[in-house]
Amino acid sequence: MRDETIQADPALARNEGIPFDRALVDAVRINTPAILRRAGTIAARRSVKKDHQAAWLARAVSMIDLTTLSGDDTPMRVRRLCAKALAPVRADLLEGLGLPDLRCGAVCVYGEMVPVAVDAVAGRIPVAAVSTGFPAGLSPLRLRLAEIEDSVAAGAAEIDIVISRRHVLTGDWQALYDETRAMRDACGAAHMKAILATGELGSLRNVAKASMVCMAAGADFIKTSTGKEGVNATLPVSLVMMRAIRDYGAMTGRKVGYKPAGGISKAKDAITYLALLKEELGDRWLRPDLFRFGASSLLGDIERQLEHHVTGRYSAAYRHAIG
């Protein structure tokens, strides 16, 4: 089970990207009200109950990038996070569910904390590092690229880069492509997640265009948010990004992963995201090599729901270890 849930599928070919083509951007058509309607009705159209709900929530846990990205992070704080990611749910509950080895998808930390995290997880799950002048992405490109290289050298298997929003807002897609491509090159073997900061892109149309350009530049994942924007992951944005992934896949044959981040804190919301994912991209994406939740407080709510499932009693927060 550990192999199946945590390791990337060896058959999954990595997205190498494609040359920049302005047509990728020009072909984008987004009808905002229709997107809102679809996103607004998915929760009413799909309902997952009982054992299925427990299994789906466990699946959600296995795809969480358990995250701490605070100015007051310390090595001990990061070690505690890693311990939680390796044992995300109380052992008796996991026994009850028949999923004793359940772990989170990865831990996600600042570059400075990568060595501590790498040491703490000891290869059992990947360490992801946010990089490139996170969260604003406005430090000099030279430094942003060096930051990636340092994190990779320190053992990060995944790099969450932030894109330059100004290139999107000014329509300079070539510049966005070139910069993202350079970051992808700097990542080397590490997988690159491109954070679009969708809350700062102004329109769903820009979200779709930026998604396409980042995938063309070789992103392994596209990710909504840093968690620091005013608006983070939403269902409409997720729908647009999932459909961009689908179109890119139809064009290139490559599967690109999706990571909504920030603002998903309820178990019920996690199920809605997975329902949308299953409908729009398909079952293959319901695995940690193609989907992650960027979240910190979601796990706590899921733990309480799982305790209810196993025991039939509603739980309290203090009954579950903090991360």
Partner: protein, 773 residues
Amino acid sequence: MTVREVFDSMDWGTAPESRAEADAWLDGHGRAFGHWIDGKRQAPGDAFDVLNPATGEVLARVTQGTEAEVAAAVKAARRAQAAWAKRDGHERARVLYAIARGIQRDARLLAVLEVLDTGKPIREARDIDVALAARHFYHHAGHAALLDQTHPGAAPWGVCGQIVPWNFPLLMLAWKVAPALATGNAVVLKPAEWTPLTALAFADICDRAGVPAGLVNVVAGDGATGAALARADIDKLAFTGSTEVGRILRRDTAGRGIGLTLELGGKSPYVVLEDADLDSAVEGLVDAIWFNGGQVCCAGARALVQEGVADAFTAKLRDRMAKLRVGDPLDKSTDMGAMVHPEHKARVEALLARTSGDVHRGTAPDGCFLPPTLVTGLHGADPLMQEEAFGPVLAMTTFRTPAEAVQLANDTNYGLAGSVWSQDIDHALDIAPKIRAGVIWVNGANMLDAAAPFGGMKESGFGREGGVAGLGAYLRPARGPRLKAPAPRRAASGSASDPVDRTPKMYVGGKQARPDGGYTRAVTGPKGTVLGHVGVGNRKDVRNAVEAAEKASSWGSTTAHLRAQILFYLAENLSARRDEFVDRVAAQTGTEGAAEVDLAVRHLFRWAAWADKHDGRVVGVPMGGLALALNRPVGVVAAFASEESPLAGVAQIVGASMALGNRLVLIAPEHAPLSATDLYQVLDTSDVPGGVVNILTGDHAELAPHVAGHLGVDAVWSFSTAGISATIEREAAGNLKRTWVNDGRGRDWSAADDSPWLAAATEVQTVWVPFGV
């Protein structure tokens, strides 16, 4: 399956809604239902089985309504109606509000009952059927409260017979009952025999909401009960159902002077332009054709896709179809439930068997289920492009240009609804109103709301439900005194004083045309003086005039300002020839003619004024964007003019028709046609484009069946003294043209009573334009 196994498979599992409460309700009634008449549940009589189509189980036995039971219900309604109409708007509003609250209170029971009875998925019953039914009563509680201000002096019809279909039993009940009660009518409702349960449950809600006994009656039964209701002593009949049955009802009610509105079938186009958001357009089709298993009159059943994106669109659509879940209607994750009845499933399959297209099917369980189905490679003549399937069957074809999309969209006898998908505002808003259908959704499908008028053009029926336009269907038009047939006139001996023959011809396409039959007849004054001769029109003259009118279609899209200018000019030119027209009116009527001519000038001026003032409205639907109720011209109007007012009456007809963008075939007053024929020259000198007004002379009774039977005529009005109202209504059934007949009643031709004219000369087209966040 263990949690561990689902963790790997990530299946949906099941999420069944409980049916316990609905079963308890059915058991509480012994699973046997009589009608609800005069506020009391009647004992069950001869009954038929009501099935759950998803399982085949018998849910209950429901009584087949007899002629006597229908009559008893109508009688009870009659008793209750007078007092109800006298209540003030606020009091009626409170009762409607109580019904809305009652629906919300019983929402879950109603939703589950609807699922058991129809096989539709619980999500739809819960989020759409029941929610919109409550919304409809809320909205109409408001109309009741405001009616004195919005429609001062308006009177209800009285007793309304209402026949609703099986696809949205409760929602269609709400669409019928709410406006009827709001305007002061009483109701006898017949639910469909396959799905009578929620109507019977609605009786409980009425009871608790303080609906007076007899105001709402429910008589169950099949088509025979419906026919009995149509024959009964009702004042108005409202029907939602098939075009075939609508036609029968049109014929059977002809000449009775009762109101009739019909909401019938459709084969609605779903146009996808190359600049559309294709994924959203695919998802829109899920709502357009797989909503309620395609058993929706306004289903987007014909996908018309621009050639350049057709392959990509089809691929996306087939992927989406594969993800639709067909099965247990009570499961909250079911997209498509059962077909309503095995007989109906067989009808859909029989139509599908006749197509020559390539059929792609999704999957569905055994039993009364059908899979989502796409049929490609079709051309216009395929039965699937023309006939209503009323099932989950999408017919698809391609087009090259936006103009061709419009042409294909309109290549149907129906005109209920349509969708246009494009991210280009120019394309989308250009095409939307060119589709001749009552409801158009720009970048959407099947959006419905109580404030947005809904109803068809062409053979999809007439009348609107919802909004202000929908109230008109439940208000009785003012009626004048009974018309006396004109005294027969005998020509005195001798001939016309003018030895030169000036027999006017027909006026067709802006030119004078000899009558096809080559016969003329004398026109005499009241004393028998021969005033002249006119041609005797026949069916070929009708054909020629309609053809000319059809060709003048650009009149409907010209600017309102231009139409106003031409009408003002027409009035001015008539005024300039006042003396001549005064003499002619006097000679024909034996009255002093000046008043009639001055009145005609006034009427034309007034209609010139209306040309750019009969505005539509922006409708307050709960959606970001705009829903517009536009007043569109009816098309080709044929009108029989009245002897009562040989010039002013003609001016009313010409003015109303022209001002609102219609083309007219006017049949001159039978015995006093010369003022109408004198108008030829005035029309010629007033820049009226050829074909916009065509004038025939002849015998009204002789011409009526040909005019009303002509499939190119969209509306027939009759103000004739000849008793042709019944003939017109009966013959109009052919293409379900709109009729406005006098039922042998006169009218005050000096009145500026414009609202019925405005209503008759236009049809509301509701255009939904969602936008924004």
